[in-house]
Symmetry: C2
């Protein structure tokens, strides 16, 4: 697949040029056009990504938890593919290569349903990938591009619960809600990441400032960026102004609760709508809390089950926060930005799930597989 992407770069870029031309004529925003754009360099990066996936250990066939039962049976589990996975995405044509590599590596077939903006690019990439799969001796249908990009046809696709095992939508909240609401096939998804950083009473001030900056500023447009900072009142008294100044110096707008504004009057007043907000830009909500319980209550009420971090020197608080916060990634003294398949050591990431069924949090190859029970006997019967 990587070789195919490199060898057919000219053809893929020509197809992409048609999408870009139509996009410009149709008035797509500069940001969307940038997402849509492919050139030799980007294709090379995609191919390199495919090669990285190829180099991951093959999850299929792995046997684990093998145990001997009292009757002598050896019982364990063997990892197997899920089956047919349908990726639904918008204007990023690179998803086709990226997702196909991961799905195939885990032994699955993949159906690619991209948005109409990237229709020509998707067709071209899909053709190249299917041909690569065929030349490796597998059925080319293992990578199938749906060329019909109408919503009604997507609805039909989402009704094929007998034929598709899992749908993974990637894109804006609107697309994801449409998929979730119209699908008879199970959907792995997250709507948004309203991630919290809680600065405990006894916390390292320098670390708190660094992790707040890293979480908010390093890449504000992603789902694991910090959106709300909760500060213990005893930490706040001395150190909240310092924290706010550092954020302000990095260009971050602060929307604070009343107590925040008493300590740092330059902050704007937060409204109720700020607490559940996923800004995805250089804005942060800030609230002073009386203790960790109040912080956890706030997270439960306004969070999105994505990622939360605590900064603390208190061992008992660290362990309690880990245990009681129900989000898919919970960190102690580390940036929320680590909530990512590669950073957590999964080797790759096909998506993030904020529902607990099947996979919770970043999903790598293992999330694209299941396990069956295997039993080695020597004639055992049940009595």
């Amino acid at each position: 697949m990587a070789r195919g992407l490199r060898a057919n770069a000219a053809e893929i870029c020509a197809a992409n040029a048609k999408d870009m031309e139509r996009g410009r004529a149709g008035g797509l925003s500069k940001a969307l056009l940038d997402r849509l754009h492919l050139d030799e360099q980007r294709l090379d990066a995609l191919a390199a990504g495919v090669e990285e996936v190829a180099d991951l250990p093959d999850p299929v066939g792995e046997i684990s938890e093998m145990k001997r039962r009292p009757n002598g049976l050896l019982v364990g589990r063997m990892r197997i593919p899920l089956g047919v996975i349908c990726m639904i995405y918008e204007a990023r044509p690179g998803v086709a290569a990226d997702a196909s590599a991961l799905c195939l590596k885990a032994g699955n077939a993949v159906i690619l349903r991209g948005g109409s903006d990237a229709a020509e690019s998707n067709k071209a990439i899909g053709r190249v990938l299917a041909e690569a799969v065929r030349s490796a001796g597998l059925p080319g249908e293992a990578v199938t591009v749906i060329e019909d990009t109408r919503r009604e046809s997507m609805k039909e696709l989402l009704s094929f619960e007998e034929d598709i095992d899992l749908v993974i939508p990637r894109g804006g909240e609107g697309l994801i809600r449409f998929v979730a609401e119209n699908s008879r096939v199970p959907v792995l998804k997250h709507y948004k990441g309203v991630c919290h950083l809680y600065v405990d009473r006894d916390a390292d001030a320098e670390m708190a400032v660094r992790l707040a900056l890293n979480g908010k500023v390093q890449r504000p447009g992603v789902c694991n960026a910090v959106e709300t900072i909760l500060v213990h009142e005893e930490f706040a008294k001395d150190l909240l102004p310092k924290l706010c100044k550092a954020l302000g110096a990095a260009g971050v707008e602060i929307r604070g609760c009343e107590r925040t504004r008493t300590l740092f009057p330059a902050a704007k007043a937060a409204e109720e709508s700020d607490w559940p907000a996923e800004y995805l830009e250089l804005i942060v909500a800030m609230r002073v809390v009386t203790d960790m319980n109040e912080a956890i209550d706030h997270i439960r009420r306004y969070g999105s089950d994505h990622t939360e971090a605590i900064v603390t020197n208190d061992y008992a608080h660290a362990m309690e926060f880990l245990r009681r916060v129900g989000s898919s990634t919970v960190l102690v003294n580390a940036s929320t930005r680590f909530a990512d398949g590669n950073q957590l050591g999964l080797g790759a990431e096909i998506g993030i799930s904020t529902t607990r069924l099947h996979a919770f949090g970043p999903m790598g190859l293992e999330g694209l597989t299941s396990q069956k029970f295997i039993v080695f006997g020597d004639g055992q019967e049940r009595t």
Copy 2:
């Protein structure tokens, strides 16, 4: 909960007597009345089952796969409850105790929606369980009985995707299909068990006969009973008549393919509808196959992804059968009747799933949980 069931046996039996009376007046079959019936002895067995679940290790909070990343972060997973689980079942009031024990042990809340035939029994058991939960210092709502047994109210329940995390239906195929077709909440289910026993060319004849008998006769009415026996033609020549005689002597009716009937003329002729049939009684379909490939093709075409077994002395065939058969439990030289949570060592069983998402095969406590990522850092930020 166990103490509550024993202490309130008289009250529960009185409620059950009302259900039994209405059932008899309504003309319920003897088998259904037997399923519905509760007495002190049955309640005591239920209570003992609850005690067994209580004695299982607590899955919640277990930390696994802890690894150190190059930047010093310690990354692992902590087992957590799924959330709110809805059990939907028919006339067996014991499910209320059994399922509540498992769901609560895994840290979940449970909603019990039993059938109208057992309405009084369910209410009485639910009251006792909720009181027990309350007396243990937990909210009584952690066990909630839905008293409205109309289908429309079930439909409404199945639309609460924001509030219920998982639905597990237990009962006939009709109930399960209704739930699957009407649910917005994920459903863990199996429709039926069309389990195969494949007797390879080089197989121990005595073992083949024993495993066929055990699979078919020991308890024919359950989902892991053998429904079809596939016999390699070279084994069949000498040994099929012996196998058929043994089955016949145990009262099993044989519906065979043409080649089966040539070797054992007393067999009835199998029709196309016999291959996907789940008889759940003393009937077995039998087919002579030319090799293991044909057996595996047959299983793929007619099987239900539940359980399949091979009898063989051939090492390579054993390993290939394990790898290529995609069912949720695959056994070598052992009875299909072992496809059961207790027999496979899960300690308990809340149900069996024949779809690959989240859980595949028998589900114990672990199937009622999920895992979140936990990260121990010392100030790491992402660069």
